[in-house]
């Protein structure tokens, strides 16, 4: 790779980082405002069912302790300055540092999302390729039908269906949770974790393939109709060899890009799937934090997910710099 491109990438990353920083500030502020104006009372959320036993004086003390009696902007600034020192605050519902919770939850979610991401990427790509190579045959029609149906299926609905069929009726997989219930943490095996991971990961992948497959199919059809594929045919190339030499390169790049750019949908899907499967990941924590008004945790999660989606998009953009020779080796003639 030449120096010019490296400088290009450097500049590109710098610009992206600035954009990210401003975006994060805006997202945090908006989420902060939204939560503060939501009908949920954070003190009630904190105390939970013991609300009746707490008098107004105690309420005030709690409010003072969390800084809830200050004006919103003061609360935001004090939260923000703590954040700059790396302190995400303390979760009100879990009563533990937010960073710790996110770290632990993120590992769970990450495994789930990566599994679903890789599976849906590979399977979706293969489906798209088969569909395009066998255009208008029953295989193509079936794959298209599947994708259009799946693309319009809500994740939670499919998750419930999977639960009913595979966990309740067939009993192949546990009904929920990330680990077996009633087993000590140190006794949980990797096999247990994988066993619990399969259903939610499958739910996410089954839906995730639709986009990649349809996109790859269309791209490959364009490529197959191109003049360079016509010329390859005129030179005696055909079938899988022709796809391997002229199709793969030309469709893999857009597919990989699409897959990285789909991080946001992946995250969104994970939130719903985790909820259905009571899988203890970021998604589930987000729902709880939102419902119970846990401002520090929710804001931490917002930052975390925004970063995650952003990184996916940056990688999607970078792929063209790294993989596409038309950008990588551009030079004047």
């Amino acid at each position: 790779m030449n120096k010019r491109v490296n400088r290009h990438i450097g500049l590109f990353l710098l610009l992206k980082s600035v954009r990210m920083a401003t975006l994060l500030v805006a997202i945090c502020f908006i989420s902060f405002l939204l939560i503060k104006n939501s009908p949920i009372d954070p003190i009630q959320a904190y105390i939970g069912a013991d609300m009746l036993k707490v008098g107004p004086e105690q309420r005030e003390k709690i409010a003072e302790h969390w800084g809830l009696d200050q004006p919103i902007i003061v609360q935001f600034v004090s939260w923000g300055s703590a954040l700059l020192t790396g302190d995400l605050g303390t979760s009100m519902i879990y009563r533990r540092p937010v960073a710790e919770i996110i770290h632990e939850r993120f590992l769970h979610s990450f495994v789930l999302m990566i599994t679903a991401w890789v599976l849906s990427g590979i399977i979706g790509f293969a489906m798209g390729v088969i569909s395009a190579m066998k255009k208008d045959t029953w295989v193509d029609k079936f794959i298209k039908w599947y994708c259009y149906t799946l693309a319009s299926t809500p994740t939670f609905w499919l998750g419930l269906l999977m639960l009913i069929v595979f966990a309740v009726w067939l009993g192949w997989f546990p009904v929920g949770l990330g680990v077996p219930a009633g087993v000590l943490a140190e006794n949980v095996t990797i096999a247990d974790r994988i066993h619990h991971l399969i259903l939610p990961a499958m739910t996410l992948s089954v839906i995730g393939v639709a986009n990649v497959a349809l996109h790859t199919r269309q791209k490959l059809l364009d490529v197959l109709a191109s003049e360079y594929v016509l010329f390859a045919r005129a030179r005696g190339e055909h079938g899988f060899g022709l796809f391997w030499r002229h199709g793969l390169r030309n469709v893999a790049m857009p597919a990989i890009t699409l897959q990285f750019a789909a991080f946001s949908e992946l995250f969104g899907g994970a939130v719903l799937a985790e909820q259905v499967f009571s899988y203890p990941g970021l998604g589930q924590a987000t729902v709880e934090a939102g419902l119970r008004g846990d401002v520090p945790l929710l804001l931490g999660l917002v930052i975390c997910s925004a970063l995650f989606v952003f990184v996916g998009n940056v990688i999607a953009d970078l792929i063209y710099y790294v993989l596409d020779p038309r950008i990588r080796e551009r030079r004047m003639i």
């Binding site: 191109s226 003049e227 360079y228 016509l230 010329f231 390859a232 045919r233 005129a234 030179r235 005696g236 190339e237 055909h238 030499r245 002229h246 390169r249 030309n250 596409d324 020779p325 038309r326 080796e329 551009r330 030079r331 003639i333």
Partner: protein, 307 residues
């Protein structure tokens, strides 16, 4: 025996124009042409006269919506779809008309090496690049890094390294340096002298005359005349067909008189001679039936009044 014989080839496209009405575009009509081993046949004719489609028909790469009739024979036997698949790229090769026929994501050296069916592919590719003044770093470039002329030379190289029996070159020279054009034409002549048959589709009659043996003149999707190159001189008095004569006289170096009128629309061809609406020699008889291709003075013509 001719190596390639195209007989009564017709190609049409169906087009639906509103509702269920169908329009047939007769883009090639009763085309007959033969190619001999050791000979260069230049094919000339106006844009849209079906030159590229003939090339694609021979290789079996017509668009799927094209309807085709007539026969194509290669080495004496009919060139069926299965046989086309077997011989293309090996015995019959194409130099396509546009540089878009190069794979944008494949290094051009590799694209040329694909065509080498036997022997050392790298050596063959380097040799042909050297011959066409392509520097040694060009083989590692991608098509977007090439100038138009370089891309043309790459396309040409794919055919030149192939050791095929038949080369069909669809306008291989536009955008090249004059020196490289001369080199390319010499190369075609050399291959022909070694027994290869070359069909050179071109707009450049002047260059074609220098190396070709025969010239086929296309008009509105058919061959109107096949003449030995020696007949192209003076005012075209040795030529047989009124269109060939007019085309010859329309060249800048000759009288530079354009032919009036234009080629008929493929969806509304005249019922008689396709050239009749523009022909100065046309008689009532010309409009009644399509003239057959006939032998005349060591050439062929499709005109009832030709002498």
């Amino acid at each position: 025996m001719s190596i390639l014989e195209v007989e009564d080839l017709s190609i049409s496209f169906k087009q639906y124009t509103g509702g269920l009405k169908q329009k047939h575009h007769h883009v090639i009509t009763d085309l007959t042409v033969t190619l001999e081993a050791g000979e260069i046949l230049a094919v000339v004719g106006a844009s849209g006269s079906g030159k590229s489609l003939l090339a694609h028909a021979i290789l079996g790469i017509l668009p799927s919506n094209a309807g085709m009739s007539g026969t194509i024979k290669y080495a004496g036997d009919e060139l069926t779809a299965a046989r086309q698949r077997a011989v293309r790229g090996k015995e019959i090769v194409l130099v396509p008309q546009s540089v878009n026929y190069l794979d944008p994501l494949m290094r051009v050296g590799a694209q040329v090496r694909t065509s080498v069916k036997q022997g050392d592919a790298i050596r063959a590719q380097r040799k042909v690049f050297q011959r066409y003044h392509l520097k040694s770093d060009v083989e590692n470039m991608y098509p977007f890094q090439l100038s138009g002329g370089m891309a043309r030379r790459t396309l040409l190289s794919t055919a030149m390294v192939s050791e095929a029996n038949v080369i069909i070159a669809d306008e291989p020279t536009p955008g090249m340096d004059p020196a490289v054009i001369v080199e390319a034409l010499h190369h075609f002549r050399e291959l022909a002298d070694n027994g290869c048959a070359v069909m050179l589709i071109t707009h450049d009659i002047e260059s074609a005359l220098k190396i070709a043996d025969k010239i086929a003149v296309f008009y509105a999707g058919t061959t109107v005349e096949v003449a030995p190159v020696d007949d192209f001189f003076g005012n075209g008095e040795a030529l047989r067909h009124p269109y060939s004569k007019a085309l010859w006289r329309a060249l800048p170096q000759n009288d530079f008189i354009p032919i009036r009128g234009s080629q008929p629309d493929p969806s509304a061809l005249p019922s008689g001679c396709l050239f009749a609406p523009r022909c100065e020699k046309a008689t009532l008889e010309c409009g009644q039936a399509r003239p057959e291709m006939r032998n005349l003075r060591n050439g062929m013509v499709r005109c009832i009044h030709a002498t």
